[in-house]
Subunit: 467 residues, 2 copies
């Protein structure tokens, strides 16, 4: 499969060089003192809270980043290889609100959270559970991160992501996952079991929590999606090139920090910026600029030979409609064509990250299937060229009863889940109504993966102790 490259190799070099200048000359604020100490020890110049990164230091640390790693699930059959070639799809992350056809838009609860985990567990197109499938707003904030890690592991045995709300919350996420995997904290360094997404505070700063998260995950050598989300025109220049150079400077700074803590810590290059809509001053995640960001981010990550996170199926629409359809297809297709390896938000997101929709989760399952079919491409060989069948059938003949058709259509044709393709709409339902019926049917068929009683007790005890 060819990747779609929107800028030239020399443009990527220019962006890289600009980022290095930003790091060296403008600097990046780290409010978290332990991070500044580590960076200073590693060769950075520190003035107040601002850290200046010499070019040689950045290039030295980038060499430690592995180009692939395995993210382990509780069920080893669901382990996922993260490298610079393969594409993996990850659930929706971080919406405070949920939406469905029955109850409308409302703050997420633990009940919604568990339903989303169950659905992502059952969706073959989803490889990895997110951390905040939605915000369970009815759970005490102090233990919410632990509860989410616990509930995700209880209802799914796919690999998962953990909290980045500071050093302690990160450690708790990792330790809970270690318990579920039955491994000690001394050996977890050799087995990535939980991914995280520490985010910069654009422009050019890291807050205490995120810097703490980077240090914690690096200490246990757990994978990090070092992430920058710029709002081009607000927190970064109104040009895609400039915004990407700025994002890249922030990301490289985070990568350097992680490598200084523990060389070889698995990294996923994660940039997720887009433009703002100047009429409202707020982010647009469905904008074509966002898709262009994805393409260039992908090219940059390949340049660094680091796996990359790119977002998929993003939409600014407030409901499931034509707009969610065209924006989601654009963003997911470009994520794949950009060579995205860790496609976060591969399903469910709308309302500019504010909301996760149960119906959209199902419709995006269709979009994921279609995009994967595009990715499989076209096989050209003697068998698929079918000259014998064409000779056999001849002019004005038919292929529907031909043996060649029967031996190929199942692999060649994508089988839709929800799309209406009949001559006349057969069930009289809209696709949104079919999506609604499908997630309810799936929840009815859900089977919980086993979690040994002693491990479950240990997990509960761990959380209880920290209340």
């Amino acid at each position: 499969m060819q990747r779609y490259q929107t800028v030239r190799a020399e443009d990527i070099e220019k962006i890289h060089e600009t980022s290095l200048k930003i790091m060296e000359e403008v600097g990046i604020i780290f409010s978290y003192a332990p991070a500044r100490e580590i960076l200073a020890k590693g060769g950075a110049k520190v003035e107040g809270e601002t850290v200046y990164f010499p070019k040689g230091m950045v290039e030295r640390e980038l060499k430690h980043v592995p180009s692939s790693f395995t993210l382990h699930g509780r069920n080893p059959e669901k382990n996922v290889e993260i490298n610079t070639e393969q594409t993996t799809f990850v659930g929706p992350y971080g919406s405070p609100f949920v939406l469905d056809l029955d109850k409308g838009r409302r703050p997420g609860t633990l009940d919604d959270f568990i339903k989303l985990v169950k659905l992502c567990h059952m969706m073959n197109n989803i490889d990895i559970q997110s951390h905040i499938s939605c915000e369970p707003s009815d759970i005490d904030v102090d233990i919410r991160h632990m509860e989410m890690v616990y509930q995700t592991m209880k209802y799914s045995d796919k690999p998962l992501m953990g909290s980045v709300l500071g050093y302690e919350a990160s450690k708790e996420s990792i330790e809970l996952t270690a318990i579920a995997h039955g491994i000690g904290l001394d050996t977890i360094q050799d087995k990535p079991v939980i991914a995280s997404i520490p985010c910069t505070l654009t422009p050019l700063s890291y807050d205490d929590k995120m810097a703490g998260a980077i240090i914690a995950y690096a200490e246990y050598r757990q994978p990090q999606l070092v992430n920058s989300l710029c709002l081009a025109g607000a927190t970064s220049p109104a040009t895609i090139a400039g915004s990407i150079a700025l994002q890249n400077a922030e990301i490289l700074a985070g990568i350097v920090l992680a490598q200084l803590v523990n060389a070889g810590t698995p990294i996923v290059y994660s940039a997720s910026g887009s433009s703002i809509d100047m009429r409202f001053g707020n982010l647009s995640i469905g904008a074509p600029e966002g898709a262009l960001f994805s393409l260039v981010n992908g090219q940059l990550a390949k340049y660094y030979k680091i796996p990359c996170r790119i977002s998929g199926t993003l939409s600014d629409s407030k409901q499931v409609d034509s707009q969610t359809g065209y924006e989601s297809m654009l963003t997911l297709l470009m994520a794949q064509m950009a060579g995205g390896n860790f496609i976060l938000h591969a399903a469910g997101i709308l309302d500019t990250y504010n909301c996760t929709s149960f119906e959209k989760l199902m419709i995006d399952d269709e979009i994921m299937g279609m995009v994967k079919r595009i990715g499989r491409g076209v096989t050209v060989n003697d068998d698929t060229l079918a000259l014998d069948a064409i000779k056999q059938v001849g002019p004005r003949g038919e292929y529907i009863t031909n043996k060649h058709t029967f031996s190929h259509f199942r692999t060649e044709f994508y089988q839709p889940l929800l799309s209406d393709r009949a001559r006349v709409n057969q069930d009289g339902l809209t696709i949104e109504e079919r999506a609604n019926a499908r997630w309810k049917k799936m929840l009815g068929e859900y089977v919980q993966p086993s979690l040994p009683a002693d491990i479950d007790a240990d997990l509960k005890r761990y959380i209880e102790k920290r209340k």
Copy 2:
């Protein structure tokens, strides 16, 4: 802009070689005797109605096809250059039904037809009018093709397409257009003014009407989209590679016929097949296979150095919904990435070509704008890299009031027409309702381009004489 190539150059060679074998060994039925005579004279072997094409003959005739031409509009400012690099967008073509939010789905009428012509005239993203913007079912079939050419020229001065319903109807379309352009039939050979889309009868045959159309348009050296639409699994193999080899054989046969009639006749390579849905046995135009067809068709046309038609914004949905959104974005984006030069059905089509929707026309206008923004790509230079602005703003600053933002956002950011990007849906409308309001507003603002009274009288007289 990079093109997205899903198969290797050697695969394209294999498809080409297979097509030549099909043409030489299986042959193609031409029921129309004049076409067989021309082909026989050109070197083909004819047995009954089947024509066998020697490889050397095909290769010889392909050399006459120009790689570019100008399609002239009544208004010279709206002339369109058709070549192998540029992308032009063309209106919806051929639906018997129309759909809008007010009156639902119904057979198209002249009133609908004129409205669609007016809207396509006003849409900046549409470069060329189609021939059958919708079927005007209330117009007598015998003169319908002339009426459509006349009404299209009356309400729009963009370039247009004409009838392919046989030799006579084709000539009438051309002659009407010559009158509107005020040029004689003796000089029209040097000025392409009307494009046509003669279609094969897959597998491997041409009916009388389409072969007659090829001859008529070639006689006047007017552009032809020589088109094959296979239904993979029904009228062609269930493999994309085999179907494309078969389509290509048909298209090459039509190109050879046109070139034998008049060497140098402008051609647009036009393949539009997709897979059938095996549950229903009918075509799916929104299937990912269709988009893969487009990619390979684009590669083939580039191999022949001939401009190519690829379809855009296709959907199988029966209403304007999430499905029309994701299918339309997939097909149009791939049409552009495939290097499509003449994007037919760039807006409006749903229900597997059976229906054109007024609201979808507006929503696809948004999709066209977004896809064009993707095509423009990312400019990387010192100005867009914005290092000075980044230094000026520094860490934790803001860009919204920065001069660099003001001088770039208008060109860098796509400005949406209908997409909801506000924090809260501002008008309380769905995008379909906004689309409905927009086409009505546009019709209210429509200004008819001038058509000299004497030419109008000549056109009417021409049609009257043939009643």
